[in-house]
Every structure is written in structure tokens, then in C-alpha cells.
């Protein structure tokens, strides 16, 4: 009988091989100059308190638990790589990328996830023509804030409601991905809906994302569950600490 881990490995390998070496592409990242200055500035104002909170949280928890720095380093690098990896979606014939923020939020907590996401997005905007500096605030809000807090919230709610841990992690990964793209849709719709209503513009953009993001969100759920399962097998004490209210170690 093929075990769950083997199936997961095969699915992950299939997606990685399918991705081959495609040209780098953005996905949820809003490119430089797409948003008008006023909207771009507004999203920076929304993002800044979360970044400040995350920095404070990171400092406090790093002082308390040295192991936390290593976990943040590993998770941060993973979020950076995952969020610039275009994955082909055969059902849509397009590419998009997972975000990794749901997994990060479960492992290190939502506010530190905002910080590592901000750093990843900044590096991608500077050196990889992926996203933009003017749209950095909007990208932080969609991927860092929405992705992390929705993922973490779903995980906490599902485990509190008695959902099996692995299923809760899967749901967190999947919904954090969908939340990221829903917020991106809202950011675009709110700034660029013109004469159309905000609701209809939002629905139009969300619908356009669906053929690509629905399967990709499910894939992200599997990736998140796989990462969780691996850590649970190798370092169960890290997983045990997830029951603490702030998430992650320490």
C-alpha cells in the first residue's frame, strides 16, 4: 500500500518536474506602477504596523529561544524561494506561484511571517523584476498580512473545533493562498474599478484568478501538510509547541 507520504512526494515531484525551467514570472505580485500613488501609499500605511509588530515579536522570541532564529531563517528562505517559483497549472494553461505564508504562520506565528514576507518581497522587487517598490505595501498586505493571518486563523479555529491536525494544516495552507489572491483582487479592484462598481470589478478579477488559483491553493495545502508531517516525524517537540497561542516555537 502506498503511504500518504509517498503520494505526497510523487505529487510534489510531478509539479516540480512540470515546472521545468520556465521563464520567471510574477503572479500575485502587483508590478511596479500598476497602482496609483495614493493607493500605493495607503497600502504602505496598512502594512507598516504589521511589520513593526512582527519585528518586535521576532526580537522578543529570538531572545527567549535561540532555536527560533534557525526556524525563522529556514522558513524565510523557503517563503522567498516558494514565492518566486512559477508553477504551471495544466488545467488553466497558465503559471502562478504558491506563497508559503500559511505554512510559515503555523510554524513561526503570523506577525514574524509578515516580516520575512516583506524581506522576500523587497529582494524580489529589487533584483528579480518581480513585484515593485511602489507596490510593495500592497504586496505585503496581500501575501504577508492576509496570507499569514488567514492561514494562522484557520489553523487555530480548525484545531479548536476538533478537526484533525493534518486536515487543519491542509486547510490553512489552501485558504491562505486563496486569501492572498482575494486581497490582491480587492487591491486592484479598489484602485482601478473606474466607472464599474467595486463589487463587480472585484468579482471579475477573482473569477479570472480562479482557474489557476483553485488547483494551486489545493497544491499549497498539500505542501503545507507535507511540511507539517515531516516536522512532526523528526521534531515532534516543535509541533507540540504549536498549541501555544502565538504559534511556532518558544
Amino acid at each position: 500500500m502506498i503511504r500518504f507520504r509517498q503520494i505526497l512526494t510523487a505529487v510534489a515531484a510531478a509539479w516540480l518536474l512540470l515546472s521545468g525551467f520556465p521563464p520567471p514570472a510574477s503572479a500575485m505580485h502587483i508590478a511596479e506602477g500598476i497602482l496609483p500613488a495614493s493607493w500605493a501609499g495607503l497600502w504602505f500605511v496598512v502594512a507598516l504596523p504589521f511589520v513593526a509588530w512582527g519585528l518586535r515579536d521576532l526580537r522578543m522570541r529570538s531572545e527567549r529561544t535561540p532555536l527560533f532564529k534557525s526556524l525563522v531563517g529556514m522558513v524565510g528562505a523557503a517563503v522567498f524561494v516558494i514565492s518566486c517559483m512559477p508553477v504551471p497549472v495544466p488545467t488553466a494553461g497558465t503559471c502562478s506561484h504558491p506563497c508559503g505564508t500559511g505554512m510559515a504562520a503555523i510554524l513561526i506565528g503570523p506577525s514574524p511571517t509578515v516580516v520575512i514576507t516583506s524581506i522576500a518581497l523587497l529582494l524580489q522587487a529589487l533584483f528579480l523584476a518581480h513585484g515593485g517598490l511602489t507596490t510593495l505595501g500592497a504586496d505585503i498586505v496581500s501575501m504577508g498580512v492576509a496570507g499569514a493571518f488567514v492561514g494562522y486563523g484557520v489553523f487555530r479555529l480548525a484545531t479548536t473545533a476538533g478537526v484533525p491536525r493534518l486536515a487543519a494544516v491542509f486547510m490553512a495552507g489552501m485558504l491562505s493562498d486563496w486569501a492572498t489572491y482575494a486581497v490582491t483582487s480587492f487591491e486592484l479592484a479598489s484602485a482601478l474599478h473606474g466607472n464599474a462598481s467595486l463589487g463587480s470589478a472585484f468579482l471579475a478579477i477573482t473569477a479570472a484568478f480562479c482557474p489557476t488559483q483553485i488547483p494551486l491553493g489545493i497544491l499549497e495545502g498539500f505542501i503545507t501538510a507535507g511540511a507539517y508531517r515531516f516536522i512532526n516525524a523528526r521534531r515532534p517537540e516543535l509541533i507540540a509547541s504549536l498549541t501555544k497561542p502565538q504559534g511556532g516555537v518558544a
Partner: protein, 92 residues
């Protein structure tokens, strides 16, 4: 042996799927930034600007992506070994 057979079968299946998928699917594999975000923005009269540091020139972007992936992979691997040290080998 059984496990190896399963992996080889999966690998072959994947190769066949990859070949037929890439040769028969009429897909452009564009990113959703192009098919959704920029399309919607263009309809609203907003075009993307050239990035501040424009690495999207020829193979330069591939180079930067490769460097980024290598550094990201190294950092992740370095911390991974701290968190999940290799199990000590059994004495022979």
C-alpha cells in the same frame, strides 16, 4: 524492491504525461500577472513601469533567479541542518 518499482513507474508515468502535456496542450503558460493583473490594469489605463533595477533583459533574469534560488536554498539548508541534524550512523 516494491518501493523502487512504484517510484520508477511513477517517474515513467510522469515523463509520458510531461511529454504529451507539453506537446499537445495549446497553452502559453503565462503568469497570472500577465493574464489577470496586467490585463485588468491595462483596461483601466495603467501600464507597468520598468523596474528600478531592470534585470528583465535577455538571460539576465534567469541568472538572477538562479542566484536567488541557490542562495535561498543554501540558507534554508543551513538552518535545516541546525533544526534537523542528521541521525548518527549506527556503529558497524
Amino acid at each position: 524492491m516494491k518501493k523502487a518499482t512504484i517510484y520508477i513507474a511513477l517517474g515513467l508515468l510522469l515523463l509520458v504525461a510531461l511529454y504529451f502535456g507539453l506537446t499537445h496542450l495549446d497553452a502559453k503558460w503565462s503568469g497570472v500577472d500577465e493574464t489577470v493583473i496586467e490585463k485588468f490594469a491595462a483596461a483601466a489605463g495603467r501600464e507597468p513601469w520598468t523596474p528600478l533595477i531592470n534585470t528583465d533583459q535577455g538571460d539576465l533574469l534567469l541568472f538572477f533567479f538562479l542566484i536567488a534560488g541557490t542562495i535561498g536554498g543554501f540558507v534554508a539548508g543551513y538552518h535545516f541542518r541546525e533544526l534537523f541534524p542528521p541521525k548518527p550512523r549506527k556503529a558497524e
